[in-house]
């Protein structure tokens, strides 16, 4: 089972994890990304390319399923204006064994950060805004799975 959702609504980590675990296996891995408090951040705005986002995440989930024996994959990514501490992204994977669950979860996040069409814009407490730049470390992390 693959579930991909993109939208402004928050997600419930517990119920999403339970849904994946009900698909079988005994190893569930999850990752939650939240808006980091780095001092004077006011809001983080997530923009995306609606026509492409769903398709890109679906492809990432399918690539993960072809690389590891997974029973279920859930990817949820929020868009719109978010405050410090709010959820941004959730990935849950379910398999028979922990290596497959943890590795595939990590792979999905690395791919997502380099190919899924989302952009973050931060607004500081003083009103200054800035588009966040892509990081080389994220690109390197995504590259390592190609070996």
């Amino acid at each position: 089972m693959i579930k991909v959702e993109v939208g402004p609504a928050d997600f419930d980590i517990g119920s999403e994890t339970l849904d994946v675990s009900r698909q079988g296996g005994g190893a569930i891995a999850s990752f939650v990304g939240q808006v980091r408090d780095d001092g004077n951040l006011k809001t983080l705005e997530l923009e995306h390319y609606p026509a492409m986002t769903q398709k890109a995440l679906q492809e990432i989930a399918e690539t993960a399923r072809s690389g590891w024996p997974l029973h279920a994959v859930t990817i949820i990514h929020r868009v719109g204006k978010l405050s410090v501490g709010e959820n941004i992204v959730l990935v849950v994977t379910g398999s028979d064994h922990r290596e497959a669950a943890i590795e595939s979860c990590s792979f999905i996040m690395d791919r997502l950060k380099t190919v899924a069409p989302f952009w973050k814009k931060e607004t500081r407490a003083d009103g200054a805004t800035k588009w966040i730049e892509a990081r080389d470390s994220d690109r390197a992390a995504a590259e390592k799975w190609k070996k």
């Binding site: 995306h48 588009w131 730049e133």
Partner: protein
Amino acid sequence: MNRSINLVYFAWVRERLGRDEETIRLGEEVGTIGDVLDILKARGTAYAEVLSDSEKLRFALDQDYGTAASTIGSARELAIFPPVTGG
């Protein structure tokens, strides 16, 4: 043959161009994404500045990633945006 393509812009590309989409007509000589970029850059300072460094841009043709050398073919939509920063 008259063909046109819908251009969509995101993040700082959208902000600096002051628009999120537009449709342009393509002549017979337009073969690749790079050709479209050349047409846009000839339109004025804002386009020339934003599109000058294609290393800083990413492209998608009908929602699939491409490069400046990718053939437009019968694609209906070309997206131009910065490297992605989701997650």
